[in-house]
C-alpha cells in the first residue's frame, strides 16, 4: 500500500459526497445531518459530540433508517483506547415467543424492542462528549421544524411499504410518513415533523430520563397499551445504558482493523479480511475476473461462518476457540477456495438471507484531537414497524425480526430480555498506532462485503477513499447468489463469475443493494481530513476548516 497515493489522489466532489477539510470530518447519508455535525465541531465539540448531533439529525431526516425508536452500536476511539459501544435494544418482558407470529414479528406495535438509541447517545454525550445535551440535540430540532426534502429513495420506500403502513388500525406511521396519511410523498417535497421536534426539545430539556422513566415513558406506555403492544413503562424503566465491550482487532496487511464484537458482526468482516490477507496484494488490487471470484467466495464463506456460529455477547469474550478470528482457520478457509464455486455449497436462492438492504444508517466522525467515532444505528427494517409513537413523532423499530424464532438454544432466540442479532460492523482502521479511517455501512449481510472491498481497494490498490467507495462492488449471499452493478463491471468479470457457478443478480448502477459506505480519513502523509459519503445512498461529507 502507498498511503501517500491514497491520500494525494483524493478529489473532492461538487455534489458534496467527497470533501476535504483542515480540522475534522463528518460523513453521513444525509447532507443535513452532516452539516449538523460540522456545526458542532465548529462550536468546539469533539468527534463524539458531532456523532451525537449527526445521529439525532439522522433520526429526523432519515427516519426510515434509524431514529429514537431504534438502537445504536458503534466504536469510539479516544486517546489510545477504543471501546465497542453495544447499545443493543431488548425484547420486552411480555413478548413471549408463543404470542408472536410472522406478521406481528414484522409489522405493528408488537414487533418492537425497547428503544435504546436515546440512552446510547446520552451515554456518549455524558462520558465522551464536551458539549451539553441540549446543544447536540439542537440541530435535529431545527431540521424537524424546518423540514427537509424527501429523497427519491424515500419516496420509493413509502410506495413499497404502503400496505403495512395502511394496514395498521391506528395508521400512526402513515400519518407521519405518507402524504395525507395515504400516499407516498414525491421526491423533493419538504417534510416537517413538529411532533418529533417537540419530543426532541422535551428530551433536551428534561434529559434522557424523560424517555425511560418520565413523561415520554408514560406516553409510550399508554400508546402501547392502547394499541396492544408489549412494551410497558417497566420495560423502559430499566434504562438500556449501552455496554462497553472490547472491540475485535485483526490486521489487514499493514493496518489494524477494530470492529464490533457480538451481538454485532465485526467477526464476518475480520474473517473476510484475514482470508483476503492470504492473497497477493497485486492480485486483489488488479481487479481481474479471477480475483473477483476469490472475493465472492471469501465473502460467502465468511457469511456462512457467522451464520453457523452465533454467540451470546456476554460470554463471547471467554470463548476459548474463537474460530472466526483464528488466523490458522482463515488460512485454511482461504486455501479451500478453488477455481469454481464451492461444490459443497450449492447455489440455493432460498437460503436464508438477512432481510433488508435499504435500512440502517452509518455515520463516521473524526476531530483534530485524534478522536474517532464510527456509529451504525437502525430501526431494523425500512420504516421499522410501520407504526409510530402517538404524538411523539418517531417510529417504533421492528427488531423482533432480528431474533431467531426456531431454536430456543440460539443465543438470539426471541425471548423476553433477549437482544437482536445485529449485522452492524462499524469499524476503525488504525495505521501506525493512530486511527486512520473510520468506516461503516448499512446493508445487513452486505455490510462486511462492502467494507471488505472498500478496504481492499485502499490497501491493495492504494485507491483514495473516494475512489474506493465509488468502485463497483460484488456481494455474494449465503446461497451463492452474486449481486453486482453489472453495468459497471467489464463483461468478462460477469461472465467469469457466471461460469464459476454462481447465480448472478444484476443490480442497477450505484444500487444501494451493495451497501452505502460513510468513511472519514485523517491524513497521515499530509495535513487534514478526507471524507466520503457513498453515492449509492447519497449524503455528504464535510468538515471545519
Amino acid at each position: 500500500m502507498n498511503p501517500r497515493k491514497v491520500e494525494s489522489t483524493f478529489r473532492p466532489a461538487a455534489d458534496g459526497t467527497a470533501a476535504e477539510a483542515a480540522r475534522g470530518m463528518v460523513a453521513s447519508a444525509s447532507s443535513h445531518a452532516t452539516r449538523a455535525g460540522v456545526e458542532i465541531l465548529e462550536a468546539g465539540g469533539n468527534a463524539f459530540d458531532a456523532a451525537c448531533a449527526v445521529a439525532f439529525a439522522l433520526s429526523v431526516c432519515e427516519p426510515h433508517m434509524s431514529g429514537l425508536g431504534g438502537q445504536t452500536l458503534g466504536l469510539l476511539h479516544r486517546g489510545d483506547r477504543c471501546v465497542a459501544l453495544d447499545g443493543s435494544s431488548r425484547v420486552p418482558a411480555r413478548a413471549l415467543r408463543e404470542r408472536i407470529d410472522s406478521k406481528t414479528q414484522r409489522d405493528g406495535y408488537r414487533a418492537a424492542t425497547v428503544p435504546s438509541t436515546p440512552a446510547a447517545l446520552a451515554w456518549i454525550n455524558r462520558h465522551y462528549g464536551r458539549l451539553s445535551w441540549p446543544e447536540v440535540i439542537a440541530p435535529a430540532v431545527r431540521i424537524a421544524r424546518e423540514g427537509y426534502p424527501i429523497t427519491p429513495l424515500e419516496s420509493e420506500l413509502q410506495e413499497r411499504e404502503l400496505g403495512p403502513f395502511l394496514e395498521s388500525s391506528s395508521r400512526s406511521g402513515a400519518r407521519y410518513f405518507l402524504r395525507g396519511g395515504e400516499r407516498p410523498y414525491a421526491a423533493g417535497e419538504v417534510l416537517q415533523q413538529p411532533d418529533l421536534a417537540d419530543t426532541l426539545e422535551q428530551l433536551a430539556k428534561e434529559g434522557v430520563e424523560s424517555f425511560y422513566s418520565g413523561d415520554i415513558a408514560q406516553r409510550i406506555d399508554a400508546d402501547m397499551r392502547e394499541n396492544d403492544g408489549f412494551l410497558r413503562a417497566d420495560d423502559l424503566a430499566l434504562t438500556p445504558w449501552p455496554i462497553e465491550r472490547a472491540p475485535l482487532r485483526r490486521r489487514y496487511r499493514s493496518t489494524t482493523v477494530l470492529t464490533m464484537p457480538p451481538p454485532g458482526s465485526g467477526r464476518t468482516l475480520l474473517l473476510a479480511l484475514m482470508m483476503l490477507n492470504h492473497l497477493d496484494s497485486s492480485f486483489l488490487g488488479g481487479r481481474s475476473p479471477e480475483s473477483r471470484h476469490f472475493v465472492a467466495e471469501t465473502l460467502r464463506k465468511a457469511l456462512r461462518q457467522r451464520h453457523e456460529r452465533p454467540y451470546d455477547p456476554d460470554s463471547y469474550p471467554q470463548v476459548e476457540n474463537k474460530r472466526m478470528l483464528s488466523r490458522t482457520f482463515a488460512r485454511e478457509l482461504a486455501a479451500s477456495i478453488t477455481e469454481q464455486i464451492d461444490p459443497g455449497l450449492p447455489v440455493d436462492p432460498n437460503a436464508p438471507v438477512l432481510d433488508g438492504w435499504d435500512e440502517t444508517t452509518h455515520l463516521s466522525a473524526m476531530d483534530s484531537e485524534g478522536n474517532a467515532a464510527s456509529i451504525t444505528q437502525s430501526i431494523e427494517l425500512a420504516y421499522g414497524a410501520k407504526v409510530a409513537a402517538n404524538r411523539l413523532g418517531f417510529l417504533y423499530n421492528n427488531y423482533l425480526m432480528a431474533c431467531d424464532t426456531k431454536d430456543p438454544s440460539h443465543p438470539y432466540y426471541l425471548r423476553p430480555g433477549g437482544v437482536p442479532w445485529s449485522s452492524a460492523a462499524p469499524a476503525i482502521v488504525v495505521r501506525r498506532g493512530r486511527p486512520w479511517i473510520a468506516m461503516g455501512s448499512p446493508g445487513s449481510e452486505r455490510i462486511s462485503s462492502a467494507l471488505a472491498q472498500f478496504l481492499m481497494h485502499v490497501v491493495d490498490d492504494s485507491a483514495s477513499i473516494q475512489e474506493a467507495v465509488d468502485r463497483p462492488r460484488v456481494h455474494c449471499s449465503l446461497g451463492g447468489v452474486v449481486s453486482l452493478e453489472a453495468g459497471r463491471f467489464p463483461g468478462e468479470v460477469v461472465e467469469h463469475l457466471a461460469e464459476r457457478g454462481y447465480r448472478i443478480e444484476s443490480m442497477p448502477e450505484y444500487s444501494s443493494a451493495l451497501g452505502a459506505i460513510q468513511a472519514v480519513l485523517r491524513c497521515q502523509t499530509r495535513r487534514g481530513f478526507q471524507g466520503v459519503a457513498d453515492r449509492r445512498r447519497g449524503g455528504a461529507a464535510a468538515g471545519p476548516d
Binding site: A93, D234, A237, D314, S315, P408, S409, Y413, P416, G417
Partner: protein, 539 residues
C-alpha cells in the same frame, strides 16, 4: 471362667458424655498435598477422594459441590445456582465465575403473587448448578464428569446420617414442607422430620446424578431430565419450560474485585455478588483508629456493627447490573476515600444511618477454589419433581419487586441479587487463604470477622470459632452473646443499636469454611456452626 470369657470391666470415668451415635466431623485438618473444607463431612470426603485420585482443586470442588446437593440438600443442589472464585496456578489468574440463574421467560410480576415468589413451582429460576460445575470442570479440571459425580451418587445411594442440625432445621421448616411435594422426599411418611441418626437414601436423586454422569449435564437442559422438568412444571402451573432450559446457563467469567488489606491482597466476588460489601468493610476497618480495631472489645464491637451497617446501606443504594459494573467510572464502594470518611464518622461517634453453602479447596499445584452455592431459602421452593429428586430453588424471592428501574427488578431472564462473597486472600503474591460462608446478608460480615481474627494472629480454628455478630440495616445487632464479653451488648445499646442475643454457635451467623496455606502444607477449618469438616489427601 476363662479370662477371655469374662466381660471386660468398663471404667465409666473414661467414657465420653455425649451421644455415642453422633458423628463428630473433623473440624481441623492438616495435609501437605491439598485441603478441602465444606459444610458437610460427606462432601469433604468426596473432595478429598477426587484429590487423591489425581484431580485438581477444580475437580475436587465440583465433586464436593455435587455431593453437598445430596447430603445438605436443604442448602444447595442441582436445582440451584453456583458461584465460584477460582485461582489458576498455571495462568496466574484469578477469576469470578458468575453462575447466576435467570428468571424464566414467563416470570413477570403481573402474573405472580407474593407467595409465589418464595415457595412452590412458580418460585424457581433456571437452575444453573449443573452447568456451572461442569463448565469449571471441563475448562480447568482434569477428571471426567462421571468420576467427579461418583461420590455424590454413592452418598445418594448408600445414604447419609441425619444430623441434629438437619433434624432441627427440618422441624423448623415443617410448615413450609407439609402439603408440598418436597414432603414426599424429605419427610418421614410425608409428615414428620427424619429422626437424628436415621440413614437417608435418595434413589431418585441418585438416578438423576447417574444420568448426568452418563449423558452429560446437557441432559438436564435439553434431554430427558429437561423434558421431565418441563412436564412437571406444566402439570403444577410452574413457569419453567423447555425453552428456558434450552438456553443453558453457562457461567460468565468476570474479573474479581481486588482490594488491599494490611499486607494482603483480597480477591472477592463482583456484582451480582456481595464482594463490594466485604471490600468496603475492610477499607473502613483498616482506617479505624487502633482502639476500635478489636471486635472482641465493646468499642470494637460497636465500631464493627457500624461498619457493617454502613456498608450495607451503600450496597442497597448502589445496585448495579453485573454486565454493566465494569464500566462504572466511579466505584464508590471500593474507594478508600469513601471508607475513610465513614471510618472518621465512626471514630467520632457520629451516627451514620438469608440458605446457601460454602466450600474452599486448595490443591498441591497452587489452584484455589472458593465456591458458594444455594437454592436460596432452606429447602428452596419446597417442591421437587419426585422422580428427579432435587429441590427447586426459590430465587424469585431474591429479586426487587417494587422499583422497575432497579437492576435486579424481577423480569424474565434477569438475574437475582446474590449475597455471596467467596474470597481468596493473597500474601506475598501467593494464595494464602480461601474462605466464604453461607447465610444471606450475614455472609460478608462473617468473612470479614474471620479475616480480622486471622490478621490479628489467631490460629485458623480460633478465627473461625470466634464469636460473631451481624448488624442489620435497621440497627438490630444479632450476636453470639454468651461467648462474648458481657459488656458488649450494653455498649451496643448505648450506641443506639438494638441487641438480639443468639445461640453460642448460631446457625444464623454464617458458616465459614477456611483453607490456609502454611509454609509446610495446608490447614483446613470447617465451622462448627454446621456439620462441616476439613480434610486433605494423604500424601
Amino acid at each position: 471362667m476363662r479370662p477371655l470369657d469374662r466381660p471386660r470391666r468398663v471404667d465409666t470415668d473414661l467414657l465420653e458424655l455425649g451421644d455415642r451415635r453422633l458423628h463428630h466431623p473433623q473440624r481441623l485438618a492438616a495435609s501437605r498435598g491439598g485441603m478441602v473444607s465444606t459444610a458437610h463431612y460427606r462432601a469433604t470426603e468426596a473432595g478429598v477422594e477426587v484429590l487423591e485420585a489425581g484431580g485438581n482443586a477444580i475437580d475436587a470442588a465440583a465433586a464436593a459441590a455435587f455431593a453437598l446437593g445430596v447430603c445438605e440438600p436443604a442448602a444447595s443442589g442441582l436445582g440451584g445456582q453456583t458461584m465460584m472464585l477460582i485461582h489458576l496456578a498455571d495462568e496466574q489468574r484469578t477469576l469470578a465465575l458468575d453462575g447466576s440463574s435467570r428468571a424464566p421467560n414467563r416470570a413477570t410480576l403481573d402474573t405472580l403473587s407474593r407467595a409465589d415468589l418464595s415457595r412452590g413451582y412458580r418460585a424457581t429460576t433456571v437452575p444453573s448448578t449443573p452447568a456451572v460445575l461442569d463448565y469449571a470442570r471441563r475448562t480447568w479440571g482434569r477428571r471426567p464428569l462421571a468420576q467427579v459425580l461418583e461420590p455424590a451418587i454413592r452418598v445418594a445411594e448408600e445414604g447419609f446420617t441425619i444430623s441434629g442440625l438437619q433434624h432441627a432445621l427440618t422441624r423448623r421448616e415443617l410448615p413450609h414442607l407439609k402439603g408440598r411435594s418436597a414432603a414426599t422426599l424429605f419427610l418421614k411418611a410425608g409428615a414428620t422430620p427424619l429422626p437424628v441418626g436415621a440413614l437417608f437414601r435418595q434413589e431418585a436423586l441418585a438416578a438423576t446424578l447417574r444420568r448426568l454422569a452418563e449423558h452429560g449435564v446437557e441432559d438436564f437442559y435439553n434431554g430427558q431430565i429437561a423434558r421431565t422438568i418441563d412436564e412437571d412444571m406444566v402439570r403444577n402451573d410452574g413457569l419453567l419450560r423447555l425453552e428456558d432450559l434450552a438456553r443453558i446457563p453457562w457461567p460468565i467469567e468476570r474479573p474479581p474485585l481486588a482490594a488491599r488489606f494490611g499486607p494482603y491482597r483480597v480477591f472477592t466476588f463482583p456484582p451480582p455478588g456481595a464482594g463490594r460489601t466485604l471490600v468496603e468493610m475492610l477499607n473502613i476497618v483498616e482506617q479505624l483508629p487502633g482502639r476500635l480495631g478489636d471486635p472482641d472489645t465493646p468499642a470494637g464491637a460497636v465500631a464493627l456493627a457500624q461498619t457493617i451497617r454502613q456498608a450495607f446501606r451503600d450496597r442497597r443504594d448502589r445496585p448495579f447490573d453485573p454486565q454493566f459494573y465494569a464500566q462504572i467510572p466511579e466505584k464508590r464502594m471500593l474507594s478508600r476515600d469513601h471508607a475513610r470518611q465513614i471510618a472518621r464518622g465512626i471514630a467520632r461517634g457520629t451516627d451514620l444511618r438469608g440458605e446457601t453453602t460454602h466450600l474452599s479447596v486448595m490443591d498441591g499445584e497452587g489452584n484455589v477454589v472458593a465456591l458458594t452455592q444455594s437454592i436460596e431459602l432452606i429447602y428452596g421452593a419446597a417442591v421437587v419433581t419426585p422422580e428427579l429428586g432435587f429441590l427447586y430453588n426459590d430465587y424469585l424471592s431474591a429479586f426487587e419487586t417494587e422499583d422497575p428501574s432497579h437492576p435486579y427488578y424481577l423480569r424474565p431472564n434477569a438475574v437475582p441479587w446474590a449475597s455471596v462473597a467467596p474470597t481468596i486472600v493473597f500474601r506475598r503474591r501467593r494464595p494464602w487463604a480461601a474462605m466464604g460462608s453461607p447465610g444471606s446478608e450475614r455472609i460478608a460480615p462473617a468473612v470479614l470477622q474471620v479475616l480480622l481474627r486471622l490478621h490479628a494472629g489467631r490460629p485458623p480454628l480460633d478465627a473461625v470459632a470466634a464469636p460473631r455478630l451481624h448488624c442489620f440495616l435497621d440497627g438490630v445487632v444479632a450476636l453470639e452473646a454468651s461467648r462474648m464479653r458481657d459488656d458488649i451488648p450494653a455498649a451496643l445499646e448505648r450506641a443506639g443499636f438494638e441487641v438480639e442475643k443468639r445461640d453460642p454457635y448460631s446457625f444464623f451467623l454464617g458458616c465459614v469454611q477456611l483453607v490456609v496455606r502454611e509454609p509446610d502444607g495446608f490447614v483446613g477449618v470447617a465451622d462448627s456452626r454446621r456439620d462441616g469438616s476439613a480434610g486433605g489427601p494423604r500424601v
